[in-house]
Amino acid sequence: MAERRLLRRLRPWVFPALLVGAFEWYARRAAALGSDALAPPSAAARAFMGAALDGSLWQATGFTLGTAALGLLLGAVLGIALGLVLGLSRRAAQLGSLSIEVLRPVPSVALIPLAMLTFGFGVRMELAIVAFATFWPLLVLVQSAVQQIEPRLLEVSRVLGLSARERAFKIVLPAIVPRLFVALRLGVAVALVVAVTVEIAANPNGMGYAMMIAQQSFDPALMLAWLGWIGVVGFAVNAGMVLLQRLVARRMGMLP
């Protein structure tokens, strides 16, 4: 019985351990052959401790998370606002549909060079791209959320003679909250990925940049440490969002 419990506990760690072990072996072999670009995970762990101690880890993480959050805020506010308008007014939705369909599929990363031209580097360009990347999914999801509000509820509001304001705050907004959260979760993931990508491709700040620097300055261990850390940060942010989503769902009686 105790053994089974132990196995149950250990089970999730078996695969990561195998992966790390295999990588350790491979990287040691490559390093022995004179590779400049691979380091074993054990060295990465040491490099990670170093970065954590000298503060560069927290500074870069703060930059990436902060910029991603700001960009998401910008993209989300615009996306939700326009999504509400398009969701509530069929006319507006029809007018904008073609423009949205044409602009939406432009890959956000294609704008990195343009943003670089326009803003140089720094917070502004990253902000702009993150906002662009998160704007579309939020717009589309909020619009469809509003359009999928139970028509019966809107009829209830008519039968009860609710004012437009009451209808917005008592019916429309609460009704889209669950879907809004799904959209926001997606938005958070997109924001983080795009922020890191922008840093890797162009912007000399944050975690992605730190990783590139590590790679370019001959420090594959540090590079690997950053890669792992980026994974941890993404995992934590995602887990946080799931938690928040559950909390709100429970508060609103969506979960039994």
Binding site: G34, A202, Q216
Partner: protein, 290 residues
């Protein structure tokens, strides 16, 4: 009088040594200049950074600078960085062990990694090929950053790379490749490898600061040319470019060229025209701040 704060952008090459020395020896401070040195990972982003005022002065390679001017950015040169020299063997064509590449003719049809397409090493390498009578269009160039060169050669992804020290010596030491040609030694001497550019508008507004900046570099160049200062120069480089000490000790430092002449810039314009990299005609005289 007070000068504006200058954020100066540099990349990880020793051609910026005169700037590092000027900062370390206090030549900027002496002229009442407040210069902050900022590391930029990609040389080609410097013009955009200048345009968006992220930097006041930056050190693009001549090819990057000319392309940006060609594209419509209104930049001028304030000063210059390192110079080409026949004595420099700090970069060259490194071929994969067993690839059989010995000279320019062998490059035809091969895949060659360069650290930046359209960047300094790429342009100069193509110039060398052309001079040797090889059509560079028949060579397949791919972009790859320095630290990857060794692995790429070893893995056979490329046949050769245009690399630079300290990466180059690591490759040869590990046996993954050999230097097929220090092609830079075939190029004419005394042309800037790095130029220090600023927005024309900024220079017009702060002519004194621009001049003071150039004068600081001239003084730094004088300092560098005295062999006894070599240790100090290396220390300055080591401070701004993170390099392992043994690498730092061996690194070749290109001679400084603080002032840029029309002839020097004209050389690059000619080179790039040859390679179809410029669309407009460029008036070199207008690009150098007096």
């Amino acid at each position: 009088q007070s000068n504006p704060k200058i954020v100066f952008g540099y990349t990880a090459v020793s051609d910026f040594a005169s700037v590092f020395v000027a900062a370390e020896e206090g030549y900027f401070k002496k002229r009442n200049l407040d210069v902050e040195l900022k590391f930029i990972p990609l040389n080609s982003t410097i013009p955009a950074a200048l345009q968006s005022d992220s930097l006041q002065i930056g050190g693009p390679t001549p090819s990057v600078f000319l392309q940006s001017v060609d594209g419509g950015l209104d930049l001028v040169l304030v000063a210059g960085g390192g110079l080409t020299s026949k004595t420099i063997t700090g970069f060259g064509l490194v071929a994969r062990a067993g690839s059989g590449i010995k000279g320019p003719q062998d490059c035809v049809g091969k895949k060659i990694g360069v650290p930046g397409l359209g960047a300094f090493l790429h342009v100069t390498f193509r110039a060398w090929l052309k001079e040797s009578g090889v059509d560079y269009r028949k060579v397949n160039f791919v972009e790859a950053s320095f630290p990857q060169h060794a692995d790429l050669l070893r893995g056979g992804s490329v046949d050769a790379v245009v690399s630079a020290d300290p990466f180059m010596s690591r490759i040869t030491e590990s046996g993954a490749g050999y230097v097929a040609s220090y092609y830079s030694t075939f190029l004419p001497e005394n042309n800037q490898t790095i130029v220090h550019a600023a927005k024309r508008e900024w220079v017009a507004k702060n002519p004194a600061a621009a001049r003071a900046f150039r004068e600081s570099l001239v003084e730094a160049a004088g300092f560098m040319q005295q062999p006894k200062n070599d240790a100090k120069v290396r220390a300055a480089i080591g401070k701004y470019i993170k390099l392992p000490p043994e690498v730092l000790a061996k690194i070749q430092i290109s001679p400084p060229g603080a002032t840029v002449s029309e002839k020097q810039l004209g050389y690059w314009v000619g080179l790039m025209k040859d390679q179809d990299m410029l669309k407009t005609s460029i008036d070199v005289a207008k690009l150098i701040a007096k």
